[in-house]
Homo-oligomer: 419 residues x 2
């Protein structure tokens, strides 16, 4: 039995069935530094996928902040502590009218709260998301995903609208807004009323379709007219990843009422947050009360503050803009009959593959390409309709040399695979 | 403006209204070590309340484990890693037939999953809890709390049964079982069916009533006969706190299908878990799929493993048994006209106060007593019907000297307050 087989057997025994892993032969990662990961055989991989280690795996400033605070005090927000205030003040300074912040532990918790903010502020229960999204795994939030029908059936107060799709349904935003308007009308007719539209401003799980300027403007108008709130799930696009803007909603060009954050926020320490306009936060706090034992603890705040410091001090948003543009140019120089589109923003980019001469996703081809890239020492993955889009979203200290290495390896992998 | 006023003003501005704090004049805690906390004026407090720093504030072995792993690798369970397996194997070895484990980040996430396990395994949606409980803060789990009605009303598939109460409704378990049986019948008649009963085996939020041996036996039979599952929320009683047993369900004398864990599990690092019988875990994984980005990451597992090591190596369960018995004896020697009961197990104990000659909770008196104890350098709090019970639940390295200091200070505080 190989070591991998042994680990997989132990996982099945103690974690149960269907615990997802990446790759046909899963990788055992034992060490990380910057944009690099090492497996248990000492083999090095270029990490082109993980956004959680936002400022680089094991960044020494974040590690040091965690160690220092963990050795000093770790308690909860029912005592006063300056750590949460310093961090919250720093973060909301970047969030315009969303001047209040709640700290939780996971993006799922953040979205679970955000949806209830919509309910608290409107007194209504109807919620809208896209039909190809993922916003998390609590009972409430997982109802926005379509992968499996919930026990007891889909709740009647949720409507899923068709996601934008670069290749198959080009849209200047009019069609999307019409879908949202129809969903609102249905929710109102059914007596639920409309509370919120939640979306990732980069539509990351939908395959980050290319969107024209002003795409969301008609939707924003529809939502405002109906009295609901806009929730921007910034778990993936936030914290400078898109290069040109610090937040996905700035990149898409709209002002939400609530912003949720997670994964990259504290470089892997379990920290997430909800920022909201003060009246939205107040409505939630009035309607629900809320206390999160681990949320906003001093160690989590120290980790998040150090992460924000590194983003700023190392100019990582600027890196994302420059290296992302370079990477995109390199990928656009690739020639292959299945490449239908190369797109992205900053350090979040991808290549969409189709069956030649069609818009049918090249599902099996992309799956094989992901495996081939892993064999060649590069970790990335797939997303979008039919899993047809290679998804790359590396730690932010990604260099031009890393981008060149990625593009060269991809060219070689494409040449090696049967067309 | 005092420093406290300044911090409170900053909290209101950036965290919003109704963010709960302890005490009339909240404490700014800046440092912790073992059972001691220090405020920003350098004043030391004996911590008789916080169960999250289970093996003591800032235990060096836990801090060292976090630092070492955070500097080496922090990623997710879609790659293989031995850390989660080593920890999970160690933990389920203590959990009998619950041989599979899922790691999440908060007790709320754990209970949110556990309730869906009940739904997955039964195909039904009805859930039962007590009417004075708290199991967490997700949209689903918070529906089990009665503090505020949810927007859109209480869901029809939840029934809350009267909590046990030492003074006001003595019960050998027959009445509780009858309440549960009635709730099951109602859920079945309404078409929801019965999926799970969730309870804290110590009824910690209900005021940890004294329960006779075999209290839960008739309820277990009712639940089994109806085909539902039993969820033991071990967030408060678990990990040796009760002294005589490692788990609350062992202490109460029953075998659940699912155990949830949280707060003390990694000494404050955001780690929580759900252990389940394999067929229950498999049913959940089949029905829902589930991935938690931060859940079971290598740093969280290192923190949890170090905490478990310290519990075992320092004999903290034995400490809880011995010091807890001593503390209870000391508290039982207190004489005061409002003391109605002194009870507890291990390092989870309390004193219930009533208006003299009645069973009416001495709400205002206990509130004043909590403040008086804080002025005298001891942190504790209140719980139970009308907030009439002093609640003490210190870090586990609590010594006989600490218990003596607590009892002496409590005697002095009682003497100082108007009877």
């Amino acid at each position: 039995m190989t070591r991998t087989d042994d680990l997989l057997a132990r996982r099945r025994a103690v974690l149960g069935p269907n615990v997802p892993t990446f790759y046909e032969a899963p990788v055992e990662i034992v060490r990380g530094e910057g944009v690099w990961l090492w497996d248990s055989d000492g083999r090095r991989y270029l990490d082109c996928y993980n956004n959680v280690p936002h400022v680089g795996h094991c960044h020494p400033r974040v590690v040091e902040a965690i160690c220092r605070q963990a050795a000093t005090l770790n308690t909860h927000t029912r005592y006063l502590h300056e750590g949460i205030l310093t961090y919250a003040e720093r973060l909301v300074a970047r969030l315009g009218e969303m001047t209040t912040l709640m700290l939780v532990c996971t993006g799922s918790e953040a979205n679970d709260v955000a949806l209830r903010m919509g309910q608290a502020v409107t007194g209504k229960t109807g919620m809208i998301a896209t039909n190809a999204t993922y916003h998390g795994n609590t009972a409430l939030v997982s109802q926005l995903s379509t992968r499996r029908p919930p026990i007891g059936g889909y709740p009647p107060n949720i409507r899923l609208v068709p996601a934008p799709d670069t290749l198959r349904a080009p849209d200047d935003g009019t069609a999307f807004a019409a879908h949202v308007a129809r969903a609102i009308a249905e929710l109102e007719a059914a007596g639920h009323g409309f509370s919120s539209l939640i979306l990732c401003p980069f539509f990351a799980n939908e395959g980050f379709p290319a969107l024209p300027a002003g795409f969301l403007a008609p939707t924003v108008e529809v939502v405002r007219r109906a009295g609901g709130i806009l929730i921007a799930d910034e778990v993936q696009p936030g914290f400078g990843r898109l290069g040109s803007h610090f937040w996905g909603h700035e990149w898409l060009g709209f002002t939400p009422d609530v912003v949720t954050m997670g994964k990259p926020m504290a470089n892997g320490h379990p920290v997430a947050a909800v920022a909201a306009r003060p009246q939205v936060m107040a409505a939630f706090r009035e309607a629900f009360g809320y206390f999160n034992t681990f949320g906003g603890n001093p160690v989590s705040c120290a980790a998040a503050l150090a992460t924000l410091d590194v983003i700023e001090d190392e100019g990582l948003q600027q890196t994302a803009a420059e290296v992302g543009a370079h990477a995109l140019a390199q990928l656009r120089s690739l020639r292959h009959p299945r490449i239908a589109d190369v797109r992205g923003a900053g350090l979040f980019f991808g290549v969409e593959f189709v069956e030649p001469g069609t818009t049918t996703p090249a599902t099996a081809f992309v799956a094989a390409l992901v495996e081939e890239m892993r064999r060649r020492g590069i970790l990335l993955n797939k997303i979008g309709p039919g899993g047809g889009t290679l998804k790359m979203r590396p730690p932010m200290p990604f260099s031009r040399a890393n981008a060149d290495h990625l593009a060269e390896t991809l060219a070689a992998a494409l040449a090696a695979l049967p067309a």
